[in-house]
């Protein structure tokens, strides 16, 4: 059984419709621990050693956050900048994260089609997530296809419930190692793994 740490980066979680539900769906699952990062570091003063400890203790890391300006809320960037230290996460001697899996779980107002209409010169979610993917690759981690909740503004309660249920299923599957990496990597989004 894999141990999973979900880092939730949401500066206004109590007002979010989707992320709150996602959190509730995985809260209390065996082997899964949640860290509400804006709650832990309201002053952006990240305890680097503590965060590295958390990384070492877990096999799978999840960054859960809204897709602000085609990227993450600023605290995640701060976290990446400070916690993924040279000599710890990357570099010749930095092999602490080698082989661990990493999943981005993002929510965005745009619908999936919007991101896919390539003719208008737009980028897909996967393309936009490239910095995160590249970062984790440098850390010798396995970057999984992201879990994406699209069209959040238009989702009704049922739609949100459905997304949350799927999220829990994905997390559970990753924890229990139900699918091989090759199997998972066939999909653009990890959402599509379970249909």
């Amino acid at each position: 059984m894999n141990r999973i740490s979900i880092l939730v980066f949401h500066p206004l979680l109590h007002k979010s419709r989707v992320n709150q539900k996602l959190v509730r769906a995985v809260e209390g699952m065996e082997g899964v621990s949640l860290r509400f990062m804006y709650d832990i570091y309201p002053d952006f003063f990240i305890d680097v050693l503590k965060e590295q400890e958390v990384l070492l203790e877990n096999d799978i890391l999840v960054w859960q956050h809204p897709f602000y300006w085609y990227s993450s809320p600023s605290l995640l960037k701060e976290w990446i900048d400070l916690v993924l230290e040279h000599g710890f996460a990357y570099g010749r001697t930095g092999r602490a994260l080698e082989g661990k899996q990493i999943l981005s779980a993002i929510s965005t107002g745009g619908r999936r089609e919007t991101y896919l209409s390539a003719e208008s010169g737009k980028f897909s979610v996967r393309q936009l997530m490239a910095p995160f993917e590249q970062t984790t690759k440098l850390c010798r981690m396995h970057y999984l296809p992201p879990f994406v909740t699209h069209g959040t503004h238009l989702l009704d309660e049922r739609g949100i419930e459905e997304a949350a249920g799927r999220y829990a299923t994905v997390i559970g599957a990753l924890r229990d190692g139900l699918y091989s990496l090759e199997e998972i990597r066939k999909y653009e989004y990890i959402n599509d793994l379970i249909l």
Binding site: D43, F45, D47, V48, L49, D81, L82, V83, L84, E85, H86, G87, G91, R92
Partner: protein, 555 residues
């Protein structure tokens, strides 16, 4: 404070002395005796007044401060008064039998006149020199043994020895004890001394009053009640008037002023000493002395009654809207926050909460604060939050958070205990005063605490760095690192605390050793550079090395 000690205290003593002296002379005393009587009656009872004010929690108020100033000045002036009284003897009634004109024998030798004065000076100088410069070394050695009993015994020995020495050269033993007290007040061990002597103080004070009580001739009250009672009430009236007018003059208003005047309107324990002393010096005769003793004793006994009269009758009648009053009645308001203590610390937090629309019930026991705050529009209530009934009526049952922001740690802990016992649902957040207090709060597992000076001190420290040329953000981040590290250090220290507790250290030493442990723990904390990721030097190094080895390889 200086102004009130010398101004208020000095004027009180002079004016009361002159008025009482004049009355005494009118009643047939000589000038010297009149002045002596004025001086002894101008003094008030430190023991009674301080204890009463403390019990009522009034020490920090204007009236308490003023009373303290006056008492302090009176206590200081006892020394010169003791020196003055023998001078009045020549003009006194029975000068012929005054013992100061008799030869004294010291150690079997007859000593008179100038020699005696010289010896007095030598002894006093000796006591001061020994007390100021030598005693602390003795105490340091004794403190190192860690035996509390020896410490106490030495303190007592010191006091008794000075008293006997003074007696030997013909000065009052009380003066000697007082002198050694003053000298010891500069000692680094004075708090330990005070604590050690405490039980004896109670005991000896009891003895003192018993002996004084026994020497009072109550027969006088029965045989000439009219004389005694009229003297008693005119004495109190004179003192009250002087205090009241001076208090007014020094800015005390309304209830504060009547309280101040009533509290100090009695005679003091030093009067007993002075009566005995002047009788011995032949300044007054036995008849006058027994009247004086009786009047002073009765006036002391009347003090609680006078204060009661002030509280229950005069205040409600004269100053209905006055700030010195019973605890406020607090309407059940269901505010989510209770703030206990609204001084310099509580007020910032209160403003912050109110600015964000959070209703807070504020409790404070300093009426001066309350008047000001009320004027600005705060809802503040008068009362001591360590009392169960007040906490209950402040709405502790409905509130969610109790903030304990008082500046007295004992009171603070009392409030915490009370709240934890009676309102387990309340989140308790506490202003921590010092290390010991922090440990006590950790013992009690309060929901949160903050060292009251930590944040402001740290942020000023941050500014120091910027003025030294650090850039702002770096200084800010360093402060953050320190804050984080401090949290770890406190918990580390908490784990170790208790081991050193048995060591018996002076206050100053205790602080120093606390500091030492703190700094040690500080060094042991790993020196991981919090922001090392932003520093690219390790990466540069690695890449340069790689470059070097690859170019070597290609050669």
């Amino acid at each position: 404070m200086r102004k009130s000690i010398f101004g208020l205290g000095g004027l009180q003593l002079v004016v009361s002395t002159v008025l009482i002296g004049v009355i005494a002379v009118i009643l047939g005393q000589t000038l010297g005796a009149g002045l002596t009587i004025g001086l002894m009656l101008a003094l008030s009872s430190t023991a009674i007044v301080l204890q009463t004010l403390d019990e009522k929690g009034l020490m920090k108020q204007a009236s308490g401060q003023a009373s303290f100033s006056v008492l302090l000045f009176q206590d200081i002036s006892v020394v010169p008064i003791l020196a003055l009284i023998p001078l009045f003897a020549s003009s006194a009634v029975s000068a012929g039998t005054a013992p100061h004109e008799e030869a004294r024998t010291i150690g079997g030798l007859e000593i008179t006149g100038w020699v005696q004065v010289l010896m007095m000076l030598v002894v006093i100088t000796g006591i001061v020199v020994v007390g100021l410069y030598l005693v602390k070394y003795v105490f340091r050695i004794i403190a190192r043994t860690g035996l509390r009993e020896i410490f106490t015994a030495t303190a007592l020995l010191l006091v008794i020895a000075t008293a006997m020495l003074m007696d030997l050269v013909g000065l009052s033993p009380a003066l000697g004890a007082f002198l050694s007290g003053i000298v010891l007040a500069n000692n680094e061990y004075r708090h330990e001394l005070e604590a050690d002597i405490e039980p004896f103080k109670g005991l000896l004070l009891g003895l003192f009053f018993i002996s004084v009580g026994a020497s009072i001739n109550f027969g006088l009250l029965i045989s000439s009640p009219r004389l005694i009672l009229s003297l008693l009430f005119s004495f109190i009236a004179v003192k009250f008037m002087v205090l009241f007018i001076l208090g007014r003059f020094f800015g005390l208003r309304g209830g504060q002023n009547t309280l101040f005047a009533f509290a100090l309107a009695q005679g003091g324990e030093f009067a007993f000493v002075l009566v005995a002393f002047s009788l011995q010096n032949g300044v007054i005769d036995v008849g006058v002395s027994s009247i004086l003793l009786l009047v002073v004793a009765l006036s002391m006994a009347l003090t609680p009654l006078l204060l009661l009269l002030n509280d229950k009758l005069i205040l409600p009648l004269a100053f209905r809207s006055e700030n010195l009053r019973e605890q406020d009645v607090i309407e059940g308001n269901g505010h989510p926050v209770i703030i206990a203590g609204f001084g310099r610390f509580g007020v910032v937090m209160g403003r912050f909460l109110i600015a964000n629309g959070i209703k807070a019930t504020i409790l404070d026991d300093n009426p001066d604060n309350i008047e000001v705050l009320k004027k600005i529009g705060f809802k503040v209530y008068y009362g001591d939050a360590s009392r169960a009934d007040l906490l209950a009526s402040a709405g502790a049952r409905e509130a969610k958070v109790l903030v304990v922001a008082v500046d007295d740690k004992h009171q603070s802990l009392k409030i915490v205990d009370l709240a934890q016992r009676n309102y387990p649902h309340l989140k308790i957040l506490v202003r921590s005063i010092d290390q010991e207090h922090t440990y006590e709060l950790l013992d009690r597992k309060v929901d949160g605490f903050k060292r009251d000076t930590f944040e402001s001190s740290l942020s000023l420290g941050t500014e120091v760095l910027t003025h030294l040329g650090y850039n702002n953000y770096r200084a800010h981040r360093l402060a953050g690192t320190f804050r984080q590290h401090n949290r770890k250090v406190i918990h580390e220290l908490y784990r170790h605390h208790g081991e050193d507790e048995k060591k018996y250290l002076s206050e100053a030493k205790k602080y120093a050793s606390e500091l030492e442990v703190l700094l040690q723990a500080e060094n042991e904390d790993s020196d991981h550079e919090q922001d090392s990721s932003w520093d690219v030097s390790s990466r540069r190094e690695e890449i340069q090395q790689l470059n070097q080895s690859s170019s070597e390889g290609s050669n």
